[in-house]
């Protein structure tokens, strides 16, 4: 008998939707041209690229000329931070303390180049206070970057308010929307966003495609130099099939967003309410102002990697911010930032749902989880 497998790690990555695969297929061997070529092969590739660009731009109310395709959210975030800082000549940036490692480590790299970093703290739910951002901005601030929603605890940040402050201060505002693009409505104008990172593989598109929205007029230097593709901002032969898939995935996500979110929120809340019945279980992040598809917890006196592994042995895929699960043996900086002690972060668990998650799968998880926690507690010296 084939082992039952339940995927509850959609925040890590998602399977490619069959409709997306179908949209990509012609661009591997049939319409394989290079977008910069002048002949018909090149032109059909270029047309597909520009069509995709328009689709993505429309979804966030941007102009086509403001979308630069990259190969990952990590690349987009690197480009936003390094590109804007270098272009501005200023030596200070403001980020939050719950950014994804690719923002954290890009900032760390900039620090080595003499750029000062201010990390704005968050409250116990993981929310940034826009007034703290205001206080952190100086005359020398090149960029503010705050994640749209936390990949670990689901907290949705007050992006519009932060953007408004940045706009008033004349500082470009970047948000990493890797977890929200295609899941929450985004309007870069209404939300005062100057740069935005979006990516494909979190919304049932292929890996290897992402983009950076760069508002017209925002200065940004390229970090890849070459043939001048993507308005000279991101040289590289364009991965047309992946980008076509990305745009198709974005289109589907938007079309199905409302009904899908309603479905996911109901499943998410079922997980939250039922998991919290376990003694010594605590929710991380806010109970409502969080991603529709993400539930995160910590369980006292048990360790996260052990939880993950036991769940995995039962066929369930999930994730943890425990120190034991990291190569550096350090607990998640996000969990520490919301005030968890290392030993609390030690027992952390994140489950994230998606398009192919069924109620039966959720029920199976909820049946297995209490048993796993009980089993590990039985072995634990702390009770």
């Amino acid at each position: 008998m084939k082992k039952k497998r339940v995927y509850l790690d959609y925040a890590a990555t998602t399977p490619v939707d069959p409709r997306v695969i179908k949209s990509m297929r012609p661009f591997w061997s049939e319409k394989f041209g290079n977008t910069v070529s002048l002949h018909s092969f090149g032109r059909e590739a270029k047309a597909a690229l520009e069509n995709s660009r328009k689709k993505i731009a429309d979804l966030i109310k941007a102009k086509s000329s403001e979308i630069v395709f990259t190969c990952s959210a990590t690349e987009s975030n690197n480009l936003a931070l390094k590109g804007v800082v270098e272009s501005s000549g200023k030596k200070h940036i403001v980020i939050s303390s719950i950014e994804h490692p690719c923002i954290m480590n890009s900032a760390e790299w900039l620090k080595g180049q003499g750029v000062e970093i201010t990390k704005v703290s968050v409250d116990k739910y993981g929310f940034v206070n826009p007034l703290d951002v205001e206080k952190a901005i100086t005359k020398n601030t090149a960029l503010v970057s705050v994640i749209h929603a936390s990949n670990e605890i689901g907290a949705i940040e007050p992006i519009k308010e932060i953007g408004k402050i940045c706009r008033a201060k004349g500082v470009p505002f970047h948000t990493d929307a890797a977890q929200t693009f295609g899941k929450l409505l985004i309007d870069v104008n209404k939300m005062n966003i100057d740069l935005l990172t979006a990516c494909s593989h979190k919304i049932y598109g292929p890996k290897g495609a992402a983009c950076l929205f760069i508002r017209q007029g925002v200065g940004l230097n390229p970090i890849l130099h070459g043939g001048g593709q993507e308005f000279g901002i991101r040289s590289s032969s364009v991965n047309v099939s992946a980008i076509v898939g990305f745009a198709k995935a974005a289109e589907l996500a938007e079309k199905e967003m409302e009904s899908e979110n309603r479905r996911l929120i109901s499943l998410r809340d079922k997980i939250i309410s039922r998991a919290l019945r376990i003694k010594g279980a605590y929710l991380t992040g806010h109970s409502e102002k969080r991603l529709p598809n993400s539930a995160s917890f910590y369980f006292s006196f048990v360790e996260g990697e052990s939880i993950i592994l036991h769940l995995d042995l039962a066929g369930i895929a999930s994730s943890t911010g425990s120190a034991c699960s990291s190569q550096k043996l350090e607990p998640s900086h996000v969990l520490l930032a919301i005030g968890l002690k290392p030993e609390q972060a030690h027992g952390s668990l994140r489950v994230s749902l998606g398009r192919f998650t069924t109620e039966q799968e959720v029920d199976y998880f909820l049946k297995v989880l209490p048993k796993v926690i009980a089993k590990l507690r039985k072995i634990s010296p702390l009770k």
Partner: protein
């Protein structure tokens, strides 16, 4: 990333739980990752470890190394049990990821502490290195236990 053996011990750990009226109790903690282990031994008059049990709060590697150290120590004389090395533990588990080697040290530390406790309670001579190790481990353990208060 884990060997079959590790997963086997993780899923069905040997000798977990407590011993009533143990001859010695060893507690050890890992300051870096936060793992915690308690080890209980029952020693007979011939100084043989007749029974041994553990309780561990930690990752799969920590649980598996705890389990395997109880297997290795059971039936051994206390002096011989002290000779169990990190390599012995790792070998019995069919290897451990490099980043998890420190977990095997935790198991050894807890065992050394249990033996120390037994020797001390019975007013037996304590080898110098065990005494020295105890001082270091005692400090670490207190630090960890403070965290879990």
């Amino acid at each position: 990333m884990y060997s079959e053996k590790v997963l086997e011990h993780f899923q069905n750990p040997h000798n977990y739980g407590k011993i009533k009226n143990p001859s010695g109790v060893g507690k050890a903690g890992n300051l870096r990752c936060g793992d915690l282990m308690h080890l209980y031994i029952k020693v007979d008059k011939d100084e043989v470890i007749k029974d041994i049990k553990f309780e561990t709060f930690g990752c799969a590697a920590a649980i598996a190394t705890s389990s395997v150290v109880t297997d290795l120590a059971k039936g051994k004389k206390v002096q011989d049990a002290l000779r169990i090395s990190s390599q012995d533990i790792v070998k019995s588990l069919g290897g451990l990821p490099i980043v998890k080697i420190h977990c095997s040290l935790l198991a050894m530390d807890a065992l050394a502490e249990a033996v120390y406790d037994y020797l001390k309670k019975n007013k037996k001579e304590i080898p110098k290195e065990i005494e020295k190790k105890h001082k270091v481990l005692e400090k670490q353990k207190k630090e960890i236990e403070k965290r879990y208060k």
